[in-house]
Each structure stands twice: as structure tokens, then as C-alpha cells.
Amino acid sequence: MRFKTHLFVPLIAALLAFVSCWPAQAADPVLSMSLGANAASFNQSSHLPSDFELGGTGSASLSPHISGVGSLFFGVSRTYLRGSAGMRVTATDVNDPNFSIGLGLQYQVCSEADLRPQEWAPDASIGWRPCPEMMPRVSVGAQGSYGLDSGTAMLLLAVRYSLPRF
């Protein structure tokens, strides 16, 4: 099943531009930035991990369910840079700060096109803070995404440390 991804480009770009330019009023978006590491698996490899990644993520929660998200990671073994930006919708209890499942659509780019092509990719992500009292800034999670043009998947097991300022 293939989607005509060019149909999404103007829609998402307009939404992101609109949101980023709009002045905050009664309440500001909740901004978050994290440092993190991933065990990543690509379609070409059946085992996990096929690489380890180091990098960071950023997000702006605009409403109870809708967030803008982005990430930049460096592949340690194959020495690549991979980035993504898009929107994510929280599909679980929006008032639970310790567990959530997000469903989103991101545009991804990678310095190694053979590894990850430049394309739109829907993703499903799970985030969990295992010890909110002892380690409130540490979370773990998993993510699966599917490239709409290439039809290839990427899987992540992740650990994150939320930066104190956020």
C-alpha cells in the first residue's frame, strides 16, 4: 500500500508554519528537550540493534493531544546523521505524565539515503517514566515507523534524559 506523500507536504508545512508563527496567548505550549540514545533496527537488518544512535529530541505540546516533535541522532557504527520533524497525537490519557502512546507523522532525512530515505513516515511511539519519584527526568520507550515512499520500517528502543531547563 503506497500513499502519494506529496499530498501531505503542503498540508503539514502550512500547519507547522502557522503554529510556529502564532503568538502565544493565555497559555504557552509545553516545551521539552531531551538527550538520548537509541538501539535502532532498519528493514535491511532482521536483528536488533543494527546500530546505536546518540542525539536529542525536542517537542512542543500545543494542546492536550497535539504536539510538534523533532529529533536529530548520530549513528555510531555506520556514522550517519538522521533527523525528523512533524506532528504527534497522544492517544492515551493526556493527563498521565508517566506513560503515553503517541501516533504521528514526521518527515525524515538522513545523510545515508541507502539507510533511511528522505520521506514522510508515520510513527507509533510509547514513552514511559519507570521511576517518576527517583528519576523524574529519565524515560524509556519504543518506536516503530514506516516510510511511505520506500515501504521500509525503522524500529527504536530508546532511553531519554529530559534537560532540566525544560
Binding site: M1, A26, L62, S63, P64, L103, S139, G141, Q143
Partner: protein
């Protein structure tokens, strides 16, 4: 194609990939196997068509709020993944 149909197809693709990862972890017999099985159950709940239908109506309403400049952000661990 309706908005909800697009959501079901898009999120179904990514959820299938995440499901395959969690199934591998759940079958691994490691300490994380039980946790992965629990997450699998929750994932299946949120990508059920009726759950996505409810979510789609929330998205439409909240997009209107955002367009009106009304922000109401929350902390979501999955946003940082």
C-alpha cells in the same frame, strides 16, 4: 477518503511496525518481556478503529483551539521518543 480513514491507514502502518518490535521483545524471555506484552495490549487498544474515531474528533476540536491561539500543552513521555 474520510479523515478517519486516512488516520486508520497511516497509524495502522506504524503501529504494525511497533507491534512487531514489541512482539519480539515479549518473546525474548528477558526481564522486559512482561512489560512489552503489557505495552502491546495498550497499543492495540489505542489503534482500534473506534478509539481512533474518538481521537479524530478530539484532534479536529483541538486544531480549532490552536488556530484560535489557545494552547493547553501537557507532558507526554512519548513526545520525547
Amino acid at each position: 477518503m474520510k479523515f478517519i480513514d486516512i488516520l486508520i491507514r497511516l497509524f495502522g502502518l506504524s503501529a504494525n511496525e511497533l507491534r512487531s518490535l514489541l512482539e519480539r521483545v515479549a518473546a525474548s524471555g528477558t526481564d522486559a518481556a512482561g512489560l512489552a506484552a503489557e505495552w502491546l495490549k495498550k497499543l492495540d487498544e489505542v489503534v482500534a478503529p473506534e478509539a481512533l474515531g474518538r481521537l479524530a474528533s478530539e484532534i479536529v476540536r483541538e486544531l480549532g483551539d490552536i488556530a484560535a491561539g489557545k494552547f493547553d500543552g501537557r507532558k507526554h513521555p512519548s513526545d520525547g521518543i
